[in-house]
Symmetry: C2
Amino acid sequence: MSEARPKRPATIHEVAGLAGVSHTTVSRYLQDKDSLKPKTRIKVEFAVKTLDYRPNLVARSMRTRRSNRLAIVLAAGSYFPGRQLSAASETAHRAGYQVEVVSVEGGPRARAERIEDLVRSGQVEGILAISSIGGKGRRTRSVPIVEIDSYDEQLHVLGELADASAVREIIEHLSSLGHRTFLHVAGDQTFTSARNRKSVYLETIESLGLRSAGAVDGDWSGQSGFDAITSLPDDSDVTAVVAANDLIAMGAIRGALSRGWTVPGDLSVFGWNDDELGRFTTPSLSTVAVDFEAQGHDAMHRLLAEIRGEPVPEPSNRTVNHVIYRESIAPPPPDRHA
Amino acid sequence: MSEARPKRPATIHEVAGLAGVSHTTVSRYLQDKDSLKPKTRIKVEFAVKTLDYRPNLVARSMRTRRSNRLAIVLAAGSYFPGRQLSAASETAHRAGYQVEVVSVEGGPRARAERIEDLVRSGQVEGILAISSIGGKGRRTRSVPIVEIDSYDEQLHVLGELADASAVREIIEHLSSLGHRTFLHVAGDQTFTSARNRKSVYLETIESLGLRSAGAVDGDWSGQSGFDAITSLPDDSDVTAVVAANDLIAMGAIRGALSRGWTVPGDLSVFGWNDDELGRFTTPSLSTVAVDFEAQGHDAMHRLLAEIRGEPVPEPSNRTVNHVIYRESIAPPPPDRHA
DNA sequence: CTGAAAGCGCTTACAG
DNA sequence: CTGAAAGCGCTTACAG
């Protein structure tokens, strides 16, 4: 059992030699097995198997002048996009693409620049940005670019903003519980998703005739949730908080407790993302389950369609978010300042 | 401002043409600028800049017969490894490698198979496994493979197991608080890190002359933590739980509350990973901060060293974990069954 | 210090 | 249905 030698992979010529045909024929076999005479096909098949032959993708790329490579750009240090990334890269692989992951230090601007650079390098056929690139006006480009975060922007155009129904459902539910005054703690406004949640929040409050004590801009951090609550005036009549993610929500809960308010007794709090931890906290966190795998998959599909010049697929329903009700919400207290 | 045309990148011949030299000279310039006569260098430099020339990496690979590609293998659907991944890929880029991300559906076995396949493909120069590949005996291979999760195994050999000091510190601290009977809820035992934490837990309990009510094998889930606590007998004298991660810990806390125990009043609980949410839960979670970036970076460094045939770098101190004490721990209750 | 030539492993017209 | 030839864009001996 000594197979230590760095076995050099077989070449197409070796396969051809073993099969007793020209390498042209082997190449043809690789492209379309049915273009060969059955007898020939069998011979080639055998040789390929025997030699465990795999075409040298680099040579193929060189010849076809197609890199067959896609880049996925993400923010260095962010750990959240893992699931989108793995779904997206799987989808790309299935479509025959190799996926280069580019992790960029810095903010949306740094990411946009890196993308610019990737475009100019001319060595990737498409780019998927998982982390926001700050919604720069997308110029006409030689290379298709899809930004996961701004996926919602497309939906908006179609009147189907993915976050919209969830935000609306949350507020309607809270309202049916008796809540009248709300607070939104928003996420980083360079993210389309953060802007969307905020604007749908404001629209919904308005259209339902409810009151908003504000929509505080945050940075997705727990601290921003904490601060938003602790800076509320003592006589605030906010009884429900809609946070842009679970971390903010947890910070808000902590902030409420720090002022002696109970959750959900005095304050109801909603998060977003269905972070696993939130199922086990006390109170467990009401939230919105997001199908990250579907997001990654769908975004990659759109990119593939753009690359092929096919019509971009309709946004699928699978990415519609799902509201989960847990312990962090309840009817408002009969009298807030009792 | 119309730059819509898919500008084909300039070739080395075009640069040579503009510079008035042979393409051989341009290539030489790319390898080592000082090998050119200053006057020539200037001309080439100018042409490269003017044309925004970037060597076609595919052609270069083909010629040098080096793919310059590394693969990072991770489990599909896992979202946690994002930070390790982004640090690892950045390190690889800096060293001039392209990083292909391969996300594999299924368990450690599926990942090991996929790696086998990547090795045979002969198209990557090294492989980094972020998710555990089940500690298969590593055979001699033509392609270096580094498994992040088993990094600890190397440390073990060096008597410096990364988790060891943290587990020991946790138990010593809890013991100094007065705790005598412990429970460990372990992680998925296909992970080296899970096995390590468990074994160090057992060793430490033993060497300090403490008692363990068990080391329950889990699957990293919150539910496993919950179940471990709810299945404890009513007269259990466990007062401290060391969980293999934060999710398990939060499940354990939830389990304790569900039986009417308070945390940390009746039970102290320790997690692992310093999940951001745990800073804001109530009680906030005592945990171990892990430097995932450093882990990813160091693992990639080891891979690069193996590829180059250099001595594998000493494990750095940066990966030593840092214990964080928060509200989830306290002295044990004077009488457990009071 | 610089250039002409060969060749990396494929694919794709073009003939037959 | 199959093969001989050209060529993708580079790098690397080999001459000069």
